[in-house]
Amino acid sequence: MERHALYRLKDNPDLEVILLSYPGVERSKVVIVAPLAQPGTFPSAPILNPTLDTPVGPRDLATERLAAIHVRELGTTLGAYDDKQFLISRALSRLFDGN
């Protein structure tokens, strides 16, 4: 799996998620993912919910809604987000450490 890969869920193709667990962890059959939302459709807080410029367009990261799901729930891949600006790391740091 590619780092920060985007997926549609198999049984809910309208829902896009981004892989947060590091590639390789899926060998445990579990991945940590967070849902993505079209900007403006999700109440976003600065830093915690950055807008990511993904291969399928801008998406808000619903960081606090991340979850562990079985890897088999992942469907089509939509490419990967290149986190050059470390927006995801900063969002996770705000979520878990308050930084």
Partner: protein, 142 residues
């Protein structure tokens, strides 16, 4: 080497790094200081140097420095002498403890202000969850 400013201090620590292959954290630990002691001082924009006794501890372990205080802005946190002595007897680093406490207080205050500034967003998030539940309810493993 003579330390007259923050750049001199960084150059000294880098020289120790080169000579010993130790990281700043390891240099601090080897000098009897908290591992995080040198972190801020190694940032290229940080304008001050540590307190004299911190420099003395590093010099005592690695040598190679003279401190010239003229024009030097030292970091200093004043403590009651008895507290200072007791802490040092117990092998504690009061400066590091105080810095950590201040950093924690700043962090908590900043987070609290951020929460206050985004109160309406969090209320909207809560309403959304109440109305629609969580996307992962049927998937989640913890």
């Amino acid at each position: 080497m003579r330390i007259t400013n923050a750049s001199d201090f960084r150059a000294w620590i880098k020289q120790i790094e080169t000579n010993t292959s130790l990281t700043p954290s390891e240099i601090a630990r080897a000098s009897g200081l908290a591992e995080s002691t040198l972190t801020r001082y190694m940032h290229p924009d940080y304008p001050r140097i540590p307190q004299r006794r911190t420099i003395k501890k590093i010099a005592g372990r690695f040598g190679g420095v003279m401190l010239d205080r003229s024009g030097v802005e030292e970091d200093s946190i004043a403590f009651e002498r008895r507290l200072q002595a007791e802490a040092e007897t117990l092998g504690l680093d009061p400066d590091a403890i105080a810095r950590q406490a201040i950093e924690n207080a700043i962090k908590e205050k900043r987070f609290s202000e951020w929460m206050d500034a985004n109160r309406e967003v969090f209320e909207a998030k809560a309403r959304d969850v109440d109305e629609h539940g969580l996307w992962c309810d049927r998937y989640r493993l913890f």
